[in-house]
């Protein structure tokens, strides 16, 4: 997994300073904003505002306008107060990252950030990733009610399988007048797990073999997966088992009864995935896992140095995909 583009040999000074700055921030999933981690600077508009005020002051002096002075100073006072208000929009907030979802490489992982506000209502808090070149320019704006919570979703798209650190998040506010920008840098500790992207179109599943153990609890099962029955939805049925068309017609949640397929067991083996390249093999295995899971079959996964015992259902699929995502050549 070498990076696609070679990293520039020498970074500019500001980049290096920024990197050093980021490095000293702690990794945490819960980030409370205080004086010490909120930065604030005037925006371009703030500078233009200051110039406008200066011009207005000059006009007031030259035309000896006492009301002009009053207006200029009123705006100056409001502008200065707005600095405090902008800072106050962030101060006291706690940003908390919900457990991150796992996605296939190339799909968007939605990260949910919960903003908890112990004080008065906050307006116009923006969240986005610090590295906007790599993680897109998706901005999320949110208001946070007084003594309440709000959540915002940020999306990242992991390009490759494996664990990806959640990139540095910036929370910022321009409220109320846009003259100042207050922001904080937050490095969440959580990581996003990206499963290998399944091969497309999905290759045919390898042939199954009878289950080795005689322990067959399914008395009601019939032969052949194509003879699926229909039964009421039970806890633990995956969404894929739900017969949505029937649900739409009848209004009741019904699942496909796939009990019959349990008599066969699939071996999803590193060796049987005959394609060139590690990643391609993993992609094929991932596609098989999905297909087997979709068919409701029992399957086991065998990777060099790693073995996943037979099983089925959501937890098995998850375990298999996780193993594929994290597999490393021994």
């Amino acid at each position: 997994m070498t990076p696609a583009a070679p990293a520039p040999r020498r970074r500019s000074l500001s980049q290096r300073v920024q990197r050093w700055w980021l490095q000293r921030l702690p990794l945490t999933d819960s980030w409370t904003l205080t004086q010490s981690n909120i930065y604030i600077l005037p925006t371009k508009a703030g500078i233009v505002f200051a110039v406008t005020l200066l011009l207005m002051l000059l006009a007031s002096i030259n035309y000896q306008l006492n009301l002009g002075y009053a207006l200029t100073f009123l705006l100056a006072g409001s502008g200065l107060v707005s600095m405090h208000l902008t800072h106050g929009t962030l101060r006291g907030l706690t940003l908390h990252l919900r457990p991150t979802p796992s996605v296939f490489a190339g799909d968007a992982a939605l990260l949910e950030v919960v903003l908890t506000n112990p004080g008065a209502e906050r307006h116009g808090v923006a969240l986005y990733f610090e590295d906007r070149e790599r993680h897109g320019t998706s901005w999320v704006w949110t208001d946070v009610p007084a003594q309440g919570q709000a959540s915002a979703r940020l999306a990242i798209v992991p390009a490759t399988r494996g664990r990806h650190a959640v990139p540095t998040v910036i929370a910022e506010s321009l409220f109320p007048f846009g003259l100042f920008r207050a922001w904080t840098l937050w490095r969440p500790a959580a990581q996003v797990l990206a499963w290998p992207r399944p091969e497309s179109p999905p290759p045919p599943l390898p042939a199954g073999s009878p289950r080795p153990d005689d322990h067959q609890p399914q008395t009601l099962r019939r032969e052949g997966a194509e003879l699926d029955g229909v039964r009421a939805w039970r806890r633990g049925d995956s969404l894929r088992q739900v017969l949505w068309k029937k649900v739409a017609r009848s209004g009741e949640l019904v699942s496909r009864d796939t009990a019959g397929v349990g008599t066969q067991e699939l071996h999803l083996d590193w060796q049987s995935a005959r394609v060139a390249g590690t990643e391609q093999r993993l992609a094929r295995l991932a596609a098989w896992v999905l297909a087997a899971d979709h068919a409701g079959q029992v399957y086991r996964l065998q990777l060099p140095g790693q073995n996943l015992p037979a099983g089925q259902g959501d937890s098995q699929r998850r375990a298999a995909l996780d193993a594929l995502a994290l597999w490393d050549a021994p």
């Binding site: 207005m56 006009a59 030259n62 116009g124």
Partner: protein
């Protein structure tokens, strides 16, 4: 229905319409003095933009806007002959503001509109700074700030009232800083020359042609306000001395230029007797370099006016003048004496200037005066006697005082004295001076204000432009200049109760005063009182007041550097206080958390280890486990704390006291 329409508008359209409304409100006061094309253009553009917003139509392309801008510049150049200067600048600013609304594409454009808007508000003050204008511009500023807040509330559809409240809150929080800066920011003189505008300000002009004063008499605006500290002089003594006109060319009275050497010119030579009248006078900006003060305010250290930024001096004709036109309201504290003498006591050559009459004008008057003088009983009469004769003549004949005497021809004095006999103060004064001069008595016209509104408003006597007056002075050997007011001879009430003839007022005011004159009068007086306060406290706040403020704060002889020091000092201490608060706020902790931490530390010294998040009852259990009977007291206290914190219906437990007692108990347990 409108409310419904408003509610159904998309948020962007609603915000834009609101912003357009604020801009229109800001431009509105300008319509009165702008070129008509500019007002029409701005209105059309704003309406067009409103339509685009209401129908969510796309904005016109850039080159369209540029075209209109070029057209506006051309029109400005055509109507103002320049692109610089105040009028042209305001015209362009209004058009630019309206045009910029057609470009509200990005946030940056919106911000440009706000900043232009603030500047536009300021330009309104160039024309008027009355209370009414201030209030309406306060609404403008509030509206602009509200729109600015709205632009930074990107989520959902925040109600306008909410944004308005947030904007008002920011402004109110900024108010102390504004007051501080307003009071202490050094008022300095204009940095470069302000182009003098020929704005038609009325007032004493320094010259007089018959008929000229009539236009002032119709002007009911305030010229000055006087507050007496102590004795209030009688109305007939309230003469505010303005330009003294000694030169007559047959048509116009002017000050004239003396042909004598400076050492030979007449001197003011003011001598005063008796007790002074102490007063404070506030002058509206007259754009004239003169100071109409009560007769007679001498040039004495304890009486003379002192105005920060101006040099006031007493002219030889006993009129106070300034070194430059008063472009702002002036206030000064002076003393006047109602009994005084001024001018030369003995005959001087320079007095000959003041008996000159242009040849070929008013022959009948000259003839009449000469024959009066040549009567045997008058041959040796002194000037005072001649003046009395003239006044008696005016009183005895059927002269009448009117503000509308009609126009007079070339020999105006002749016409007035013999034929029409209709006139107001300046006719009487001019005729009197001509007659006196014809009898070889030095005489001159004095213009100024006489009297005031009869009832003081808020302690201030209001003198209006309609109190403008002209009277005469003649020279009496051994006495100097003596005042003669022939108007008082014909219309004593004009001088005694200073009833200025009311000009026809507007329809509404007319209706109001005819329905309930008392109410109308009261309304007017309340309004004037508010206006006066406004003038005194806000508009008139000048260098002198700043100096007085510093003196109150204990500075010996403050100047503007002291002012800057005080201002900088206050700002610095304010910032330090804010920094200290920030530091304190940073270390501030929830009292409960702090107590929990302290308890944990105290238990640690006793050898009991508890976790930071353990509630008090868990800690009490730990104490019982580890310390046994020795910790019974501590455990009981911890239980009490737990109940107070978590049990339903328990009263508040003062944490501070609890901690004191607990610490003592812990120390006792440790000593065991």
């Amino acid at each position: 229905m409108i409310g419904d329409f408003w509610r159904r508008l998309p948020r962007d359209a609603r915000d834009t319409l609101f912003q357009l409304g604020v801009i229109a409100w800001t431009i509105l006061p300008h319509l009165g003095h702008l070129q008509i094309w500019c007002g029409v253009m701005a209105t059309v553009i704003l309406l067009w933009r409103a339509r685009l917003a209401a129908t969510s139509a796309p904005l016109p392309p850039r080159w369209n806007v540029a075209l209109v801008l070029a057209l506006a510049m051309g029109l400005t150049l055509w109507s103002e002959r320049t692109l610089l200067g105040r009028e042209a600048g305001v015209t362009l600013l209004v058009v630019l503001m309206a045009l910029k609304t057609l470009e509200l594409r990005a946030r940056r454009d919106a911000l440009v509109v706000f900043f232009l808007g603030f500047f536009l508000v300021l330009t309104n003050f160039l024309y008027s700074q009355t209370l009414l204008v201030a209030l309406s511009m306060l609404i403008s500023v509030w509206g602009l700030l509200t729109a600015l807040v709205l632009a930074h509330m990107p989520v959902g559809r925040p109600p306008l009232a909410r944004a308005g409240a947030l904007a008002a809150r920011a402004a109110l929080l900024g108010l102390p800083l504004m007051v501080l800066l307003f009071a202490l920011f050094p008022r300095i003189a204009p940095l470069w020359g302000v182009p003098q505008d020929a704005s038609g300000r009325t007032g004493l002009s320094g010259s007089l042609t018959l008929g000229g004063v009539a236009s002032i008499a119709n002007d009911d605006s305030v010229a000055l306000r006087v507050r007496f500290l102590g004795r209030v002089p009688d109305p007939e003594q309230m003469y505010f001395r303005g330009p003294v006109l000694g030169h007559f060319d047959g048509r116009e009275w002017t000050r004239g230029v003396s042909g004598f050497a400076p050492s030979q010119r007449l001197r003011s030579d003011v001598q005063v007797f008796g007790a002074p009248v102490e007063y404070e006078i506030t002058l509206e900006p007259s754009r004239l370099a003169l100071l109409p003060l009560l007769e007679m305010t001498p040039d004495r250290a304890d009486a003379a006016p002192e105005i920060e930024g101006y040099q006031a001096s007493l002219r030889n004709d006993a009129q106070w003048q300034l070194d430059r036109p008063a472009s702002e309201r002036l206030r000064t504290h002076v003393k006047a004496w109602t009994s005084y003498r001024h001018g030369p006591r003995n005959d001087q050559l320079a007095l000959r200037d003041l008996v000159e009459l242009p040849p070929g004008f008013n022959p009948r008057s000259l003839q009449w005066a000469l024959s009066l003088r040549n009567r045997p009983e008058n041959l040796q009469a002194e000037p005072r006697r001649l003046a009395d004769l003239l006044l008696a003549h005016v009183r005895a004949q059927d002269y009448s005082y009117t503000l509308e005497p009609g126009s007079y021809g070339r020999n105006a004095i002749d016409e007035f004295w013999f034929d029409r006999r209709l006139g107001f103060c300046e006719h009487f004064a001019a005729a009197f001076v001509v007659m006196m001069r014809a009898m070889d008595v030095p005489a001159r016209i004095v213009t100024g204000y006489q009297g005031s509104d009869p009832v003081p408003v808020d302690g201030y006597y209001v003198v209006r432009q309609s109190h403008a007056h002209a009277w005469a002075e003649y020279w009496q050997p051994g006495q100097g200049w003596l005042r003669a007011d022939p108007t008082a001879a014909v219309a004593p009430e004009r001088v005694r109760i200073s009833r200025n003839l009311q000009p026809a007022s507007g329809f509404v005011a007319n209706a109001l005063s005819s329905v309930n004159p008392q109410f109308a009068l009261q309304m007017r007086q309340t309004w004037e009182a508010m206006n006066n306060r406004w003038n005194q406290w806000v508009l008139n706040y000048a260098r002198g007041d700043q100096v007085a403020l510093l003196k109150k704060l204990g500075f010996e002889s403050p100047d503007w550097t002291d002012l800057s020091y005080v201002l900088i000092g206050l700002l610095c201490s304010g910032s330090l206080a804010a920094a200290a608060w920030a530091l304190w706020d940073r270390h501030r902790q929830d009292p409960w958390q702090r107590l929990q931490r302290r308890v944990a530390t105290a238990l640690q010294t006793l050898g009991v280890t508890v976790a930071a998040h353990d509630p008090p009852r868990t800690r009490a259990d730990r104490v019982r486990q580890c310390l046994g009977a020795r910790g019974g007291d501590l455990a009981a206290r911890l239980d009490a704390l737990d109940r107070a914190r978590y049990a339903r219906g328990s009263g508040r437990l003062p944490l501070r006291r609890w901690w004191r007692d607990f610490a003592r108990a812990a120390a006792a347990a440790a000593a065991h």
